[in-house]
């Protein structure tokens, strides 16, 4: 899932909007760098493609995976450590403090909503408690429309969803669950968006001439821009509405990227990216079931045990290395390792062997879930 998440970032790259620094924050790259949280080498440090490829902190990876698996905020908050990492990432990259939002009173949430139309709709729903499907649909449509236009800040958007969720929950409306899922989706999207902007900044910085050009063009967009005001830290991101100038800029940036392809540094980065994509994607694809299960198991155990299986490590050496470090995962992983060995080196195959390996893998996953929770 994490792979899909990271790949989506790469695929979105060419379509990403151009970040433009506000007048109070003239250098967007500096701003982005200041947003990094020491000790969290994960998503917040993604200002280059190379960084994206090296999101290797097991804790951050675990947190991101949790986020991708969850449909409710409770699920995210199940594991305190994971929740804290996620909260920190989210807060530092988007300014949204989900814990604070959850703790605020209804009136404070209403105060945060900067779109008057949506605020009045929510006020009315809150007062009357009349929350039929039509009203909810209308409000959600308004909310999404405001968000897509950029007329509502991420905090206000999240606050509106939180208030709507509470209203629906109080009235016993099952749509509350849908809204909660939407909240989780919004968190994911916010993180993706934050990373995407970081990546594009990096590319634009590399194409320095074009980047300066984009800053010069910035002033002409000021009149039409939508503003994402972020409370903490004080970072202003301005997303210009799509115009021919933007398209020209993106085209120029793409051309310059291709020109830089031959430069050593970018070449290395792109080669790394290709290796990563090939490696990560092809790692488990097109290989028989038992090795696939084994390598998935290795990744799982690596995350839990903190040990890395490098290229020259044998399966038994890795097993010995994690002994006593992964608790309940050890027994099924041992079984899975043996299944892999028998399949790979003893030439054993067949349904029984596969079923056995599958059982070990399922036990391993279960044990990892128990450990995670």
């Amino acid at each position: 899932m994490l792979r899909a998440f990271a790949l989506s970032l790469l695929l979105l790259l060419p379509m990403a909007s151009v970040p433009v620094a506000s007048s109070s924050q003239p250098n967007a790259v500096d701003v982005l760098e200041n947003r990094h949280t020491p000790g969290f080498p994960g998503i917040l440090n993604i200002t280059s493609i190379g960084d994206l490829l090296s999101v290797s902190s097991p804790d951050v990876r675990k947190a991101l995976e949790k986020l991708l698996q969850c449909n409710t905020l409770e699920c995210i908050e199940e594991d305190e450590f994971t929740a804290n990492i996620l909260k920190s990432i989210l807060h530092n990259s988007t300014g949204v403090d989900i814990t604070r939002l959850r703790a605020l009173s209804d009136s404070r949430l209403l105060d945060m909503i900067d779109d008057s139309g949506i605020r009045s709709l929510l006020e009315s729903l809150n007062r009357t408690g009349n929350v039929g499907p039509l009203e909810v649909d209308r409000l959600v449509n308004e909310l999404e429309s405001a968000r897509s236009k950029g007329s509502i800040s991420p905090q206000a958007y999240m606050a509106a969803l939180e208030l709507l969720r509470r209203i629906l929950e109080r009235s016993g409306n099952p749509q509350g669950e849908v809204i909660e899922r939407r909240q989780v989706e919004a968190i994911r999207e916010a993180l993706v968006e934050a990373s995407r902007r970081g990546l594009l900044s990096e590319l634009l910085e590399r194409i320095s001439g074009l980047y300066r050009e984009s800053q010069r063009w910035n002033s002409s967009f000021n009149s039409q821009r939508g503003v994402f005001a972020v409370e903490s830290p004080k970072v202003g991101f301005e997303l210009p509405s799509v115009s021919p100038s933007i398209l020209v800029l993106i085209l120029l940036a793409s051309l310059a990227t291709i020109a830089l392809f031959s430069s050593q540094r970018l070449g290395v980065l792109i080669a790394g990216m290709a290796r990563w994509r090939k490696g990560e994607d092809a790692e488990f694809r097109d290989i028989p079931l038992i090795p696939r299960l084994y390598w998935s198991g290795v990744r799982l155990v690596e995350r839990v045990g903190g040990a890395r299986m490098d290229a020259s490590t044998t399966h038994r050496e890795f097993l010995a290395r994690i002994e006593g470090k992964v608790g309940e995962l050890e027994r099924p992983f041992k079984g899975l390792t043996l299944s892999y060995e028998l399949y790979r080196y003893a030439g054993l195959s067949g349904r029984d062997v596969e079923e056995q390996a599958l059982r070990y893998y399922e036990d391993l996953e279960k044990a990892s879930r128990v450990r995670g929770s």
């Binding site: 290989i287 020259s312 044998t314 038994r316 050496e317 080196y345 003893a346």
Partner: protein
């Protein structure tokens, strides 16, 4: 069966499990082994213990500079009663030959012995006689002495499938040896064979049939090739070195009770099978770099078969 021999020998000798296993692996791989170590680290005891547990003929030669080739191979002697020359077989006509301090023998005697090791036959006065299977030479040598010794040339070292450095025991092991010294000596003297010659021959056959997955051949080839490319190495492993690794790995897997080789087997035998076949560049040698360290570094770098 062979695993039982390992267990028994390991219960007598302190901290010699690896050496015992390598001696047996060399036997199953139809090779010869060189135990190298300073005096007093139980090289001879180890060889004797293993040999005593196998129901095979066992002889020992103490090499000295004045030993002649015929003292090893034997020769024709005149029988006054019958008036004929009769063949008197030398100690090489045995299943297991312990050659103590091989580097004390003259090059002439060494080469007579090493030729027999390679050909598994002895030619005396034009008469060629095959040596009985199984045939294994367990040679020992002291690498420290330079006076009155004739170090084996690299080409002759290559005849040994493995060279095992026999080091000092750990402090804990040393204390145990001090405590049990008499008991160990007595146990070795009273050992009775556990495995018959037929069992050993069967084990050799079975070990040769151990499965080696194709990617492991590639893995072994890469290790040997890397030994040739290493900057510290003047002369790296030959194809014979690769064959030695394959055979030893199969035997190692067999001793471990497996019918298939895994990369761990290759790693376990790579150093004993390769280190004595490598010649280091003088500048590295002067700095104290050991071939074992070079192989270890190579093993830590060459990727094991994936997925």
């Amino acid at each position: 069966m062979i695993a039982k021999v390992v267990e028994k020998a390991s219960s007598i000798l302190v901290e010699r499990d690896n050496e015992i296993k390598l001696i047996l692996a060399s036997l199953l791989a139809r090779g010869h082994i060189l135990l190298e170590g300073v005096p007093g680290v139980a090289k001879t005891y180890t060889a004797k213990t293993v040999a005593s547990l196998l129901s095979l003929s066992f002889k020992r030669i103490q090499m000295t500079p004045d030993l002649l080739p015929s003292d090893v191979t034997g020769g024709f002697v005149y029988d006054q009663k019958t008036g004929e020359f009769k063949l008197r077989k030398g100690p090489i006509f045995t299943n297991i030959l312990l050659v103590d301090e091989i580097n004390r023998a003259s090059p002439r005697t060494q080469s007579a012995l090493l030729e027999a090791m390679q050909e598994r036959q002895v030619t005396i006065e034009g008469v060629t006689m095959p040596l009985e299977e199984p045939f294994m030479v367990i040679a020992t040598q002291n690498p420290i002495e330079f006076e009155g010794v004739f170090p084996l040339p690299e080409a002759q070292l290559d005849r040994f499938i493995a060279r095992v450095p026999v080091g000092y025991p750990s402090t804990k092991g040393f204390i145990e040896i001090l405590r049990r010294a008499d008991e160990i000596e007595e146990a070795i003297a009273n050992l009775t064979p556990m495995v018959s010659r037929e069992d050993v021959l069967n084990a050799i056959k079975e070990a040769s049939r151990v499965r080696v997955e194709d990617s492991l051949y590639e893995y072994i080839a890469r290790i040997v090739e890397e030994s040739r490319r290493h900057p510290a190495v003047k002369l790296g492993g030959s194809p014979r070195a690769g064959i030695a690794i394959v055979r030893l790995a199969k035997a190692w897997a067999y001793i471990e009770g497996r019918g298939y080789v895994i990369p761990d087997d290759v790693k376990a035998v790579a150093i004993p099978a390769l280190a004595h076949r490598i010649i280091l560049n003088p500048e590295y040698e002067v700095e104290g770099v050991k071939p074992e360290a070079v192989i270890k570094e190579i093993l830590g770098r060459v990727p094991v078969p994936r997925p």
